[in-house]
C-alpha cells in the first residue's frame, strides 16, 4: 500500500482572477492576474519556480495546444511546463502534476495554473465542438445540462421522490449559491435570487431550469507548491496549508454500456472520495471536514454528490439540503464561495479555484463569508457526464 501524498506537499501561495465575462482581457492576462496574487502571497521570486503545469480544457478556442502559452504569458525562465486536460477536472490535474513533482523530489517549488477563456467564442454554455470520427456516428447529440439532467429522473425514480419535491431541493442549492456568491467580490454572479425564481425559470433541459445550471466564465486560478520542509526554510511555516489527498477516478465504460449503475449518481465520485478519505486518514468525513467545494455544474449534481461523498445518507440529500445542513451557517458548509453556479466555471481553473477558497478560508481571509476556524476542506470535480466521467477529489488542510 502506497503511503500517499498526505502532508508531503504544502501550498505556499495561491491566486485567483476575478471570474466572469472578461471582455476586458484575454487568457494570457487572466493567468497573469492570478499569478501576480499567487507570487506575492508565496513571497518568492519567479525564478524560484522550477516547473509548471497548465490546465486548459478547450485549447482549440483559446490558447492552443502545448504549454507555451503559460511560459510565454508569465515569462517563465524556460522551466519545464506541461499542459494537462481532463475535462472539468483539468484544474485539479494541474495541481496533481505540480504536487507529485514536488513530492517526488524532482523539484522544490512548482506552479499549478488553470485557465479558461470561453466567453469570446460567443456561446451560451459550452461551445459546440467539431464532430469526431467513430463515436459521433452513434453518440447522442447531448449538451452538458441534458447529460446531467438525467440524474434527476433516475434519482427521483430510485428514491421514490416526487419531481416537485426534488426540484425544490435543487432550487435550494441554487438559492444557496447565489446567497454565497453575493458575498464574493471575485464571483461572476453576485445577485441574490429567490427559490421561486429558480422554480419558475425557463426550462433548459428537463427538469433543469435556467437557474439550475451554472454558466461558463472566464477566469484563472493558480497555486505554488513546495515541500513542508522547504516552506519552513523560506519562512512560510505559520498557518501552513498542506495537501492531504489527491485522487482521481475515471469511468471505464461500465456506466455507459453495462447495466449495473442505476443512473442516479456518479459512481466515480463514490470511488474517488473513498480513496481520498483513506489517503487523508479521514474516517468520518461528515464530522471531520469543515467545508466542501463540490462541482455544482448543475443543482442536481451537487445534490447527488452529497451522497456520493458519504456526507448525506442515500436518499437523504434532499432533506439535508432543504434543512440547511450545507448552507454557509449549516453543519457542513458547501460552496461558500458561490460554487460553479456563482463564482463561475472557467473549466480549466475550477479545480484550483475550489482549492483557493479552502486555502483562503484556512488563512481567515474571506471577509464576510469567513467560516469559523476551518481546518480541513474537500474539493470535488466531475468532468464529462454522469455516465462517463473523470472525478477528482482533493483534500487540503492545516499542516499539523
Amino acid at each position: 500500500m502506497a503511503s500517499g501524498i498526505k502532508d508531503k506537499v504544502a501550498i505556499i501561495g495561491m491566486g485567483c482572477s476575478r471570474f466572469g465575462e472578461r471582455w476586458d482581457c484575454g487568457a494570457e492576462h487572466l493567468m497573469l492576474e492570478a499569478f501576480d496574487e499567487c507570487l506575492a502571497d508565496a513571497g518568492i521570486e519567479k525564478a524560484q519556480i522550477e516547473a509548471a503545469w497548465l490546465g486548459l480544457c478547450y485549447q482549440e478556442q483559446s490558447l492552443g495546444k502545448s504549454s507555451i502559452s503559460l511560459s510565454q504569458s508569465l515569462r517563465l525562465p524556460n522551466v519545464p511546463v506541461t499542459r494537462v486536460e481532463n475535462l472539468c477536472a483539468t484544474g485539479t490535474e494541474a495541481l496533481r502534476g505540480a504536487a507529485y513533482a514536488v513530492a517526488s523530489g524532482a523539484c522544490d517549488i512548482a506552479l499549478a495554473m488553470g485557465v479558461e477563456k470561453l466567453k469570446d467564442t460567443g456561446f451560451g454554455g459550452l461551445p459546440a465542438r467539431t464532430m469526431g470520427t467513430f463515436e459521433d456516428l452513434w453518440f447522442p447529440g447531448v449538451s452538458a445540462p441534458g447529460s446531467f439532467a438525467q440524474l434527476a429522473s433516475a434519482y427521483a425514480h430510485k428514491h421514490n421522490i416526487p419531481m416537485d419535491q426534488l426540484r425544490e431541493a435543487m432550487a435550494h442549492v441554487s438559492w444557496k449559491s447565489h446567497e454565497n456568491g453575493a458575498l464574493n467580490p471575485k464571483a461572476h454572479l453576485k445577485n441574490r435570487i429567490t427559490k421561486e425564481k429558480v422554480l419558475n425559470a425557463p426550462m433548459i433541459s428537463y427538469p433543469l431550469g435556467l437557474f439550475d445550471c451554472c454558466g461558463v466564465s472566464d477566469g484563472a486560478a493558480c497555486a505554488i507548491v513546495t515541500t513542508p520542509e522547504m516552506a519552513k526554510k523560506i519562512g512560510r511555516a505559520a498557518n501552513l496549508v498542506s495537501i492531504k489527498a489527491l485522487q482521481l477516478a475515471v469511468s471505464n465504460g461500465a456506466e455507459m454500456f453495462y447495466d449495473e449503475w442505476d443512473g442516479s449518481h456518479a459512481m466515480t465520485a463514490e470511488l474517488a472520495s473513498k480513496r481520498a478519505y483513506s489517503e487523508a486518514g479521514i474516517t468520518d468525513p461528515k464530522r471531520q471536514l469543515d467545508m466542501v467545494e463540490v462541482h455544482d455544474c448543475f443543482s442536481i449534481t451537487e445534490l447527488v454528490t452529497m451522497e456520493d461523498l458519504g456526507l448525506s445518507a442515500p436518499g437523504q440529500a434532499c432533506q439535508d439540503i432543504t434543512a440547511g445542513v450545507y448552507d454557509r451557517d449549516g453543519a457542513l458548509p458547501c460552496n461558500v464561495d458561490g460554487g460553479l453556479k456563482c463564482f463561475g466555471h472557467p473549466l480549466g481553473a475550477t479545480g484550483l479555484r475550489m482549492v483557493y477558497e479552502i486555502y483562503q478560508q484556512l488563512h481567515g481571509r474571506t471577509g464576510e463569508r469567513q467560516l469559523n476556524d476551518p481546518t480541513l476542506g474537500l474539493t470535488h470535480n466531475l468532468g464529462g457526464f454522469p455516465n462517463r466521467n473523470v472525478c477528482s477529489i482533493s483534500i487540503v488542510g492545516l499542516y499539523e
Binding site: G125, T133, F134, D136, V142, G146, Q150, Y206, A254, D259
Partner: protein
C-alpha cells in the same frame, strides 16, 4: 409484406387555414390528413421500417435481391438500396438496385422481382413527397412506404401476368434540377391520360390472359381515387365495388409507393382465390394481375396499411411541417454551425454497428454490449476477444433515465435522450424518437427505429443510426 407511415398526420384543414390569406379556394381540399416525415425520416428510413415490418411478419426470409423504388431517394449517387439492406442486416451476397424516375417505379420494381425466376426478391417502395407550399399537390400526397417479398415459397398470391405500355405523356414532371413537380392541366390528364391509357392497358392484359373484366375482384389504381377512379373502372367494365377507395384520406397518395401500399392493403383484406388487378400510371401504364392463394389470410398477421394508419397522431402545426420538409429556414443558432464532417473511413469500418446496430455478446459472461469492442465491458469479466455479434435492432428497451434538452441542437426540439436498458445487462445512452415533450418516463417501453442521426449541411450529407421510439402497442 409490411407497411409504414410516419407517425405525424398533418390535418389538411391546418394546411388550408395556413393558406387562407392568399388562397381561400383551397379550403375545399382541407379534409383528411397527410402523413409527414419527421425531421429524421426519409425514403431510406421509411423503407427500412416497411421492410422490417415485412421481414417480421412470421417467416424470417432472407431475399437474394432487394429493390428500392422511389422518386425521392435521398442519394442521387450512393445506392440507397444498399443502405436499406445493411440496416436490415441482410447478407452481403445480395443483388440490390434503386428503381426510380417515374410514378411507375414501384410497379416496375415489382415486375422485376416477379420476373426473377425462383429467387426471392424484396421490393420496397417509399416516397417522401416534397411539395411547393400552397400547391394542390401539398394536399393530396403523403409520405409512406410498403414492402413485399416475391418468390416461389409460401405464396399469398400468385402472379398471373402483366401488360405494360410505355408512352411519353407528360402529366407532370420534375427535372433533375428542380425540387418540385410541375403539374399539368387536370382535365386533360384525366380525359387523355388516365381514361385512355389505363383502360387500354387493362384490356390488353385481360385479352392476353383470356379473362373477363367481371373476373376482377379487386382493382387497385395507384395515385387515383374518387370520381376519376370510378370512371376508369367503368371504362374498364370492372364493377366499381371492386375498386379500392385509395389512401388519400388517411395518409395521402405516397407517389410511386402508392401501388405497393394498395397491394399490401388489398392482400390483407383478401379471401382465397380472388383476382387482384394492380395498375400503375406514369408515362404509360403497368397492369399486374394476381390470384390469391389458400394461405392469403396469413397476410393479416403483418404490420400492414391499416396498422400504419392506426399508429398516426393528428398534427396541426403547419410551420413545423414546413421546417421538417426543409421549406422554411429556421435559425437554429450557433450550435447548428459546428463542423460535422463524417469520417467515411470510420463509418466503413464500423458500419455494421452504425447501420446494422450490431453489438457484441460476451461468450464468457453472457453480457451484451454496444459497441462491440475487444475487451468485455463487464467489470467482473473484462475478457479479450470473447464477443460474438449481437443484434440490437430487434431488442426491446426500457427508459432508464431521460431528459428533454432545449439547449442541444435538434431540428425538432427538445432533443430527447437518455439511458436505455436492454436485456443481457446491456445499456446505452441513445436519442429518443417519436416522443413528444412530457411523454417519457422511467420504465417506458421502447423499440429501436432506424433514423437520420445527424446532418452535415456544409457537405450536403446526412447519416443514419438507431433511435429508441415508443414500443408498438
Amino acid at each position: 409484406m409490411g407497411a409504414y407511415a410516419p407517425r405525424r398526420r398533418l390535418l389538411r384543414s391546418a394546411i388550408a387555414t395556413a393558406h387562407a390569406w392568399a388562397k381561400p379556394g383551397l379550403k375545399g381540399l382541407g379534409k383528411g390528413s397527410r402523413a409527414i416525415c419527421s425531421h429524421d425520416e426519409d425514403v431510406i428510413t421509411m423503407a427500412v421500417a416497411a421492410a422490417r415490418a415485412c421481414l417480421g411478419g412470421g417467416d424470417n426470409r432472407s431475399p437474394d435481391r432487394l429493390l428500392l423504388a422511389s422518386t425521392s431517394l435521398p442519394f442521387a449517387d450512393r445506392q440507397n438500396a444498399t443502405v436499406v439492406g445493411e440496416a436490415l442486416n441482410l447478407p452481403e451476397d445480395l443483388q440490390t438496385a434503386d428503381i426510380s424516375g417515374s410514378q411507375r417505379a414501384a410497379t416496375s420494381a415489382l415486375l422485376l422481382g416477379l420476373q426473377h425466376g425462383g429467387a426471392e426478391c424484396m421490393v420496397v417502395g417509399a416516397e417522401k413527397c416534397l411539395t411547393r407550399a400552397g400547391s394542390v399537390e401539398e394536399f393530396t400526397v403523403g409520405d409512406a412506404a410498403a414492402a413485399l417479398t416475391t418468390g416461389e415459397d409460401q405464396q399469398l398470391a400468385r402472379f398471373i401476368g402483366s401488360h405494360s405500355i410505355s408512352r411519353d405523356m407528360v402529366d407532370h414532371y420534375r427535372t433533375a434540377q428542380s425540387d418540385y413537380n410541375y403539374a399539368l392541366e387536370e382535365r386533360w390528364i384525366r380525359d387523355c391520360g388516365l381514361m385512355e391509357i389505363i383502360p387500354e392497358t387493362v384490356a390488353a392484359l385481360l385479352t392476353k390472359l383470356h379473362m373477363l373484366p367481371e373476373q376482377i375482384d379487386r382493382l387497385l389504381i395507384a395515385g387515383v381515387d374518387g370520381r376519376p377512379a370510378a370512371q376508369i373502372a367503368a371504362r374498364c367494365s370492372i364493377d366499381k365495388m371492386a375498386l379500392h377507395e385509395g389512401l388519400k384520406a388517411p395518409i395521402g397518395h405516397a407517389g410511386s409507393a402508392d401501388a405497393l401500399l394498395l397491394l399490401v392493403d388489398a392482400l390483407q383484406a383478401a379471401e382465397p382465390d380472388q383476382h387482384i388487378l394492380l395498375v400503375g400510371f406514369g408515362q404509360g401504364c403497368d397492369a399486374l394481375l394476381f390470384q390469391t392463394t389458400d394461405i392469403v389470410h396469413r397476410a393479416r398477421e403483418s404490420h400492414g396499411v391499416a396498422a400504419a394508419i392506426a399508429a398516426g397522431v393528428d398534427d396541426t402545426n403547419y410551420l413545423r411541417y414546413l421546417s421538417f420538409a426543409g421549406l422554411v429556414d429556421i435559425d437554429w443558432g450557433m450550435r447548428a454551425e459546428r463542423d460535422n464532417r463524417t469520417s467515411q473511413a470510420a463509418f466503413y469500418r464500423g458500419r455494421r454497428a452504425i447501420t446494422g446496430f450490431v453489438g457484441g455478446l460476451c461468450r464468457d459472461c453472457g453480457v451484451a454490449q454496444f459497441p462491440k469492442t475487444a475487451l468485455c465491458v463487464n467489470p467482473n469479466c473484462g475478457k479479450q476477444d470473447t464477443q460474438d455479434d449481437e443484434m440490437f435492432a430487434n431488442k426491446a428497451g426500457q427508459v432508464k433515465s431521460f431528459t428533454e434538452d432545449w439547449l442541444a441542437l435538434s431540428l425538432n426540439p427538445p432533443l430527447m435522450y437518455g439511458s436505455v436498458r436492454f436485456d443481457r445487462q446491456s445499456t446505452l445512452m441513445m436519442e429518443f424518437a417519436d416522443f413528444d415533450p412530457g411523454e417519457l418516463s422511467i420504465g417506458s417501453k421502447l423499440q429501436m427505429v432506424f433514423r437520420i442521426k445527424d446532418f452535415d449541411p456544409l457537405r450536403g450529407y446526412h447519416r443514419y443510426f438507431w433511435k429508441a421510439a415508443p414500443a408498438a402497442e
